[in-house]
Subunit: 298 residues, 2 copies
Amino acid sequence: MLGPMIEARHLRVLRAVARTGSYSAAARQLGCTQPAVSQQMKALELSAGTPLLVRTGRETRLTEAGEALVRHAAGILAGLTAAEEEVAALAGLRAGRVRIVSFPSGSSTLVPTAVAAMRNDHPGTRVSLVEGEPPGSVEMLRAGDCEIALAFRYAPSPEWDDLVVRPLLTDRLVGLVPGTHRFAGEPVVGIGTLAEEPWIAGCPRCRGHLVDVCERAGFTPRVDFATDDYPAVVGLVGAGLGVAVLPELAVRSVRTHGVATVRLEPDVRREVVALTLPDLARVPVVGGMLDRLEAAAG
Amino acid sequence: MLGPMIEARHLRVLRAVARTGSYSAAARQLGCTQPAVSQQMKALELSAGTPLLVRTGRETRLTEAGEALVRHAAGILAGLTAAEEEVAALAGLRAGRVRIVSFPSGSSTLVPTAVAAMRNDHPGTRVSLVEGEPPGSVEMLRAGDCEIALAFRYAPSPEWDDLVVRPLLTDRLVGLVPGTHRFAGEPVVGIGTLAEEPWIAGCPRCRGHLVDVCERAGFTPRVDFATDDYPAVVGLVGAGLGVAVLPELAVRSVRTHGVATVRLEPDVRREVVALTLPDLARVPVVGGMLDRLEAAAG
DNA sequence: GGTTCCCTCCAAGCCCGCCTTATGCTCGGC
DNA sequence: GCCGAGCATAAGGCGGGCTTGGAGGGAACC
């Protein structure tokens, strides 16, 4: 910076002096000593290039320049105070907006609970929600189109290494078979025993993982239907058109008429996580939302 | 003040970062090094209680709090710049007002010349003038009703010890006698030789001083007329109604029909000075006016 | 007129904050 | 895989601000 600039502190001191009419009184009001005020005013007058106040006897009056500065100081300090208050509101969770992108079944259970808690605890905050899955949701996160992305993973995900990954819950995959199926009622079903069944797959990522699991069990599933609409999957299974593997969380929110759920062997789990950027995790409204998502999952 | 307050410097840095999108570019724009910007932003985020910008890859974006601060910063920094400009205008004599109180005969000669010079050199400045004499004019000075008081004195004036006394010129007192008087045409007249003349006195202060001078010369003048209107004094002398003693400067601006001016013995002088307060003398427009008054007197 | 109190300035010292240089790290781009 | 740019961090130097202590001056009060 070339040349000394006027700082807000100077204006605060000047205003206090102008109000109280005395250096000592201004110092008391500002909570410092009188020489401090004296030095501030000297520095301000030096940078102004002209005296700002004249003292005759015990009375202090402003010069033209002093009056000009005090006049401007009112607006400047008011703006500064408004800025501080707005930031304090954001920091104190009395305001703020957080945008969440969630995968479909997560938004139907986890998110509503967390949003309700957030709204209850901090009514000034606003939460918006859209549905989306990785990698699109992560792209939105990186592009600044949302602050939190809810996602799930079946395995470690190195592509999220630069993100904050907050684990929310782990979701066991369960098998769905028609109620009349020979495995209905079995406590545990080996996945290999379903090798010859017709399959109904979920979303593309789930379908990819399903194929992986089946191939590790020694067969390639024959997928007759694929849809990311969980009730549709359940309906298709209930109609006897095949078997399916779905997250327990997804099944729980669907009425399962004529469908039996069975535990699978081997045990397959998916991890539901909240993703955000490291910097964003430190933003109060984002951190608060993450905490409440975690609480809603617990 | 408890707690760190937001300072204008912080907002300048934040705005530069927001504009350039990079700490390094902001540092170049601000004319400092990159770690300086880094520290400023860290301090600002600390006092804000929330991150102000998020960096994903090489792109930096503002958070809500950052946007709020930048939004306020526009107005605050604009106000600050306006204040600085206004003060700079006052300091650079592109603006400013100076109020002068002058004794009557000074305002008719000295002041117009000085005001014309001031207006010519610094058209943005404004000069106002009212007539008044000590002690009233000095009282106005101390009360803040004017910045410069023009006055004269016949002797040292300890009551002005706390003021800035700028000598402008010294004015010899001359005797005025009717053109038909026996002393008309004399090069020098001893004041004692006028002991028996009828006197015509000027303003009260001048009259007081006249009595002092005469008493030192051994007589008490018989004052038939007293008026602070110099043309009237000259007129009375010209009509043969008495003799008078007037400042040369006052006589010079009056047409002197039928009046002879004579040098007095002893030589009596009055000093014309400009008075102001020590603080005010440092105000550019006041100092400039004092300089031009001095120049006009020289 | 003397005394007293308050305000202000001045000098010295301390401390904190800012800026700088130097270094290591990460991330994109070639 | 290499290179350049940008950012963070640590240490050092430096200036500025605040404080304490003291002296001077003015006004009010006795």
